[in-house]
Symmetry: C2
Subunit: 762 residues, 2 copies
Amino acid sequence: MSRPDSLIGSRMPRIDSGPKVRGEAKFTADIKLPRMLQAAVLRSPHAHAVIKSIDTSAAEKLPGVKAVVTGADTAGVKWGVFRYTQDQQLLPVDRVRYLGEEVAAVAAVSEEAAAEALSLIRVDYKPLPVITDVWQAMAEDAVLLHEDHPNNINVHVDIEVGEVEAGFAASHLVREDVFTAPEESYFMSEPYAVVANPLPDGSLELWMPNAAPHQKAKALCNALKMPLNKVIVRKVTIGGAFGGRSDVFPGEFITALLALKARRPVRLVYTREENTLATRQGHAMYTVVKTGVDKDGLVLARDITCYMDGGAYSSTGPIATSVPFLCMEQTYRLPAVRYNGYRIYTNKPVGGMIRVHGRAFAGGVDLQLDMLAEELGKDPLEVRLLNARRTGDTTPTGSKVQSCGLTDCIKEAGKASGWGDKYKKLPPWRGIGLGTNSVQTGFPLGIRGGSQATIKFNEDGGATVVSGVVDNGQGNDNMLVQIAAEVLGLDPGNIQLISADTEMTANDPGAYSMIATFAGGNAMLAAAEDARRQIFEVAAGAMGANPADLVAAGGKVFVAGSPDHGLPLAKVIRMALIQGRPVMGQGSFTPKVDQRREWLSNPQGQLSETFSFGASIAEVAVDPETGLVELLGLWLAQDCGRALNPMLVEGQFEGGATMGGVGGMLREEHVWTENGRCLNPTFLEYKVPLACDMPAMETIIVESLDPTGPFGAKEAGMSIAMSAAQAISAAVSNAIGKPVFDYPLTPDRVLKAIRGEGGAGE
Amino acid sequence: MSRPDSLIGSRMPRIDSGPKVRGEAKFTADIKLPRMLQAAVLRSPHAHAVIKSIDTSAAEKLPGVKAVVTGADTAGVKWGVFRYTQDQQLLPVDRVRYLGEEVAAVAAVSEEAAAEALSLIRVDYKPLPVITDVWQAMAEDAVLLHEDHPNNINVHVDIEVGEVEAGFAASHLVREDVFTAPEESYFMSEPYAVVANPLPDGSLELWMPNAAPHQKAKALCNALKMPLNKVIVRKVTIGGAFGGRSDVFPGEFITALLALKARRPVRLVYTREENTLATRQGHAMYTVVKTGVDKDGLVLARDITCYMDGGAYSSTGPIATSVPFLCMEQTYRLPAVRYNGYRIYTNKPVGGMIRVHGRAFAGGVDLQLDMLAEELGKDPLEVRLLNARRTGDTTPTGSKVQSCGLTDCIKEAGKASGWGDKYKKLPPWRGIGLGTNSVQTGFPLGIRGGSQATIKFNEDGGATVVSGVVDNGQGNDNMLVQIAAEVLGLDPGNIQLISADTEMTANDPGAYSMIATFAGGNAMLAAAEDARRQIFEVAAGAMGANPADLVAAGGKVFVAGSPDHGLPLAKVIRMALIQGRPVMGQGSFTPKVDQRREWLSNPQGQLSETFSFGASIAEVAVDPETGLVELLGLWLAQDCGRALNPMLVEGQFEGGATMGGVGGMLREEHVWTENGRCLNPTFLEYKVPLACDMPAMETIIVESLDPTGPFGAKEAGMSIAMSAAQAISAAVSNAIGKPVFDYPLTPDRVLKAIRGEGGAGE
C-alpha cells in the first residue's frame, strides 16, 4: 500500500508544532485589527423570567460606546440544527430560560467602557418558576419552557428492532439497573472568543474556535440574512472543541451584529465562566438499562430508557439523544433492542454534543454486562468477546460494518494488561475493568455532501493543498499535508496548507463526528492522486515511459526501480505549464450514508460509512476509608483502521483517556442551586485532570485497514475516550466488590457504595 | 454567441466601484497591522560613486529602531528579468549608479524614529564620473557602469527580415528622419508602498501595488532565498500600474528583509519623489527612421535604429528595447525591415516598460508616413489603409495574425472625425492627424504557462471564482466576474471573487502586456464552462432532460425555451453535493506562442497568440505666437475583439488617450542636471493631464471577434494610448505645415519648429 520509506505510518512531527511551542500561534482572542472594538454581553441574572422591557439609552450615550444590540435588533432570529428544532432566539426578545442567557451586548472602544455600558442597561424582568431537573420538568403542572412541547419533552427517540419481549422471555438471566450522571463541561484550554470584521465589499469575516467552518458559516448566514459567500469564517488556531464548538452560539451572532452596526471590527472574549455556561455542556442523564442473556452471557434482548436534562434549548441535543444508543448498538451484536430516549427542557444551560456521549449510558451498559457475567460465573472479557461486533455485521438500525477490529482490541488490551492474572486475583480494594465502545467515522449530521480538496503547484515544485477541514488541536492540518506529501512524493515542508477558511475552501462537513480523516483525508487523497496522474502523464511524455510505471518520491518522478534517473518534480511542473496543461489536482469524498433517514425520532439505514472500535482496561486501587480511587494503569486499544501517524494517534488515545476516562468518570460534574445557578463554572472549583493525574498508559493500535478509509484509516481516540470511562467504572466496581450506579466516581459516591447507601437514581 | 439578455456587451457597473467611491478600499499604504514598524530608505546623494563604507552603529542604538539593513545583509543579491540581465544588486554592496539608489534602510516604531535613524547612518562615498546621456555613455573613454558591458551597451536588438537594401533601391521615394524624446514617468495616483508580515509558519506575506503577483512572488523568493510557497503576495487595491509595477523593486526586497530581521510587520511608503525616481521610468529615445515607398505610398523597406537611455540597470528595459519595433511591425505590412535597438547604461534611474512604448519611435514612424504621403500627394489616411495589417497576415518576425480590424478602425475614425472634410481643408494653424498602432495581447515575457481559474459553489447557489489575475484599476476583477456570471447564468452579486493572491490562486502571467482578459478571461471562461457542464449533468438527471438542451440563466437551469420550468441553481448545487459529485469548475488557458525564442537579441516566432489594433485621429489648433497646442477633438477607434463591457472599454480608451496622447505627446518629460539629479519629480513640476485638460473624445469600438479570445475579446486601450500620441504628433505637424521631430510637443519645441530652428536630435 505504500513504499518502505512511506510517510504513512511514520511519526512525522506535526507541521503546526513550531508556532505553538514558540507562542506565535494566534488564537481568536489574540487577533488585533485596526479600530477594533471590544464587546461585552449582558446576561440574565434569572434562570427563568419574562423580559418586560430593556432600556439601553444610557448605555448608548456613554462616550466610547459604538453599538448596542438587543433582541429588538434581530426580530427574534431563531436557531437550531434542524428546521424543526429552531427554538433558541439568538438574542431573546421576550423571555430568558437560563441564568446567564444573553440579553444585550455592547461594543465600545475599550473593555472598561463596554463593562460600564453594560451596567447602564436597565432590564425589567418578571421572574417565572425555575425548573432544574427532568422530573420537575415532566410533572403535569410544570410551567412549559416552550409552549409547543408538552411535558417539556424536547425530543423522544423511539427505536425498536427485533422481538424484545420474546428475547427477555428466552433469556437465562435478566437484569435491570439504573445509572445516573450529572452535567459535565468541556473546559477547552481556549476560552470562547469571536472577532467579526465587516469588509468594504459587504462581506463579513469572522474568526472563532469552531469545529466546522462551513457549517458555522451556513448557520450564520441564515441568522444574519446574508448570502453564504458574504459570511466568511476564517482559519485561526483553535484550543480544543470536544463537541462544544459545533453549534452556532449567540456570541458569534452578537459580535457579527455589533460589527455590522458599528461598521468596525469587534472582538468578544468570554470569561472562563461564560465559556462554561454560555456555550454548551454535556447532558445530565438518568438511564434505565435492562439486559437479558443466555447462560453463556450472549445478549438476547436489551431495553434502555434514558432521560436527558437538555437545558433551555435544543442545540445539538436532539442528536445527542440517539448517539449513546448508536454507539452501544454498534459495539455489541443485539438480536432485539428497544430504546426510548427523552430529552427534557429545564432552566439550565444548553446540553450539546460532547466527547463522551453519556457516562451514565455507556458506563451502565458495560458495567451491567460485568454484573451479568459475574452472576453467570463468566469472565467479563470472554462475555465481551462473545457479544463483540464483527466485520460484515449489520447493526440493528441497519448499518453494514465494513471493518471491525473490536475482537483484536479486546484480546490485545487483555493481554497487555495481564487481565488473566488479575481478574479476581488482585489484592483487596484493587480492581480491574474492561470497557468497549464504537463510534461513527463519517456521520453526516444532516449535512449535505462531503469534503472537497484541490492542489496547485508552484514552479519550484512546491504544492499548496486546499481543504475545508479544520484543526481543533487533533492534528488535522498535519493529516492533510501528510497524505498529500505521501502521494506526491514531496517533503511535507514543500507543501503549504490552506484550510478551514470558508472563502478559500470548498464544502466540508467539519471536524466533528470523527469524520475529518475519513472524509477530508479521502478528498485530499483523491486530489493528490488526480495531481499525480497529471504529473505522470507529462513526465511519461518527456521520459518516453509508461505513466503506469512511474513513481513519485523524494521530490522526483522516476520509473519504479530507477530512482537515480528521474525528473525533478519542479521540472515536470514547469514542463506542464509550458505545454499548457498546468497540474491542478481536484478531489472530493462523500461518505456513503443514508441521507434521508429521520434522525431525531427513528434513525435507520446506513448511519456512517464505517465505524471505529475500542477496548480499554483500567486497573485501580480504592481507599476504603476515603473512597478515593487511585488509577494504577490504563491499557488503550483501538481499531483506527490505519495509524497514518502513530504519534498523533497515541496523542488522541491519551487525550481521550484523560478527558473521557479520568475527567469524565472520576471527577467532573456541575453542581447547581435550585435557582439554576452553577456553583462551579471555573477551573478553581471544577477540576479537570492534569498530566500529573494520569497513570502510565499503554496504547495499542489495531489496524483493520478499512476498505474505503484513506490508506485504510478511520478515527482515532473517540472509542478510547468512551471505553476508558467504561473501564474505570468497571474497575472501581470490581475493586469494591459492588457496582456503583452513580457517576462520576468521586470519593463520596464510592464511599456511599462501599457502605451500601445511595444507589441508582438518587 | 450569447443570449439577448447577455451580460457580455452590457454596461454592467464595476464590482469594485462601491468600496472605492465610499473611500473604504484599502491601498497598501492604508494597511495597519499590530506591532507594525515603519521603514525608511537611505538613498545615494551621488549619481555614481563607490561605497567605501557604511556605518549603521549609531542608527542601531537609537531607541525605537528595530532593524537596519545594508548590502552587507544581502550578500549582493542581484535581480533582473532574465538570468543574463541580473545586473542590479537589490541593496548595493560596493557602488551606487544613480542618484536616489537605495543604500540602507531602517525599520522603527515610528516614521520619526526611522527618519532620525537614517540621519545617523554614515556612508563614505568615492564619487565617480557621472554619465547622463547615451552619447557620453558610448564614448570610447567612458567609465563603464557595468564592467561586462563594453561601451555601456546593455542590450543590442538586431533584426533583419527580407531584402532591405533592395527594397530601398526599388523605392520611388525614401526618407530618413530622426525623432527624439526624453524620459517620462507614470505618475500613478498611488505612491509605491510595501507591507511585509512574517507569519508564524515561516511564510512572509506581502502587499504592494503590482502588475503580476505570481511573477513578483517568484522574483522575491529567489532574492530572499525562500521557497515560492512561503512568499505570499496578497491582494490589495491598486492605484495604477501602466507598466511601472511589473518589476521587483529594492523597496519590497528591503521591506521583506527588515520584517524578517525584526520579526515584525513593516510598512514602507514612498514619497512622490521616491515613487518617480526609485521605481521605473520610460526611456529617453533617439530614433532614426528610414522608409522607402513606391509611388502609391506602399512601404517597400524600412530601417530603424534606436538608442534608448536605460539608466543604471536592466530591469524590464531589454524587453522595452524590442517592443516599439514589434508594435510597428504588427501595424504595417513590411516586406523588408531592419531594426537595431540599443539600450545604453547611464547614471539615471532605471528605464522600464511604460504604457506608451517609445514616443520618439511610434510618433516618428507614423509622422514619416505622413511626410512621404505629402511628397507623393497622397492622403495619409489612404496610405495607412494601403499598408495596414490584415487578418491572416504573418508579421516579419513570424507571428500569424488571427484577427485584425485595423482597416475598419482607420475607416471608422476617418468617418467620425470628418477626415475627408478636414484634411488640407482646415483654417490656418489648425491640423488633423492620424495614428495607428497594434499591441500584443498575450505576450508571454518569458513567463511560463498561462492562467488558471477555479470555481466553487455554496449551497445557496452562490459561487466563488478564483483567479491569479490582478486588477490595477482597469477592471480585471469585474471582467472575471462578468464572464463567470454570464456562463453560469448567475447575478454578478452572487459571485465572490478571490484573485491576485499567490497563496490562494494558481499561476497567472499578470496584468501586463495586455494579457489579462485574453489569458485570465479565457481561463475563467473554461472554468465556468466546466462547472456548467457538471451542473447540467446533475440537472438533466433530475429533469429527465438532455444536458445539451439546458440553459443556465437567471439563477436557474432550464430547457432552452422553457425558462418557467427550471430548477434553481441552488437546488442543483445541493443535489450534486448529496449525490457525491460536488460542482467544482476548473480551467486554464495558455496562449499559443513560441516559448523558446531569443527575446532580447532577435525575437522570432509567434510572439503573441493575437494582437489588437487601433487608429486615433486628433484635431488641434496651434497658437503660432506661443506654440501652445489646443486639442480640439479625439476620435479613438480600436479593434478590441469584443467589448465585454463597453463602459470599461471606453474608460480604457479615454484613459489611454489621456496618458499616452495628451500626457505623453504634449506635456510630460523629465529634466536632469549634469549631476544626474531630476529637477521635476513631483506633481508640482511634472504636469500630468487632468480631466479638464481633455477635449471631447469619441470612442469607436471595432469588434473583430477574435477566434480564441474569451467571447472574442482581446485588449482594450493600449493601441489607443499609442495611436493617440501618434495622431497628435501628426496633427500638430499638419497644423504648422512642418514636421516636429522632438517630443513632447511643448510650446517651446513647437515654436522652434515653426521658426525652423532645432530639429532632430538636438
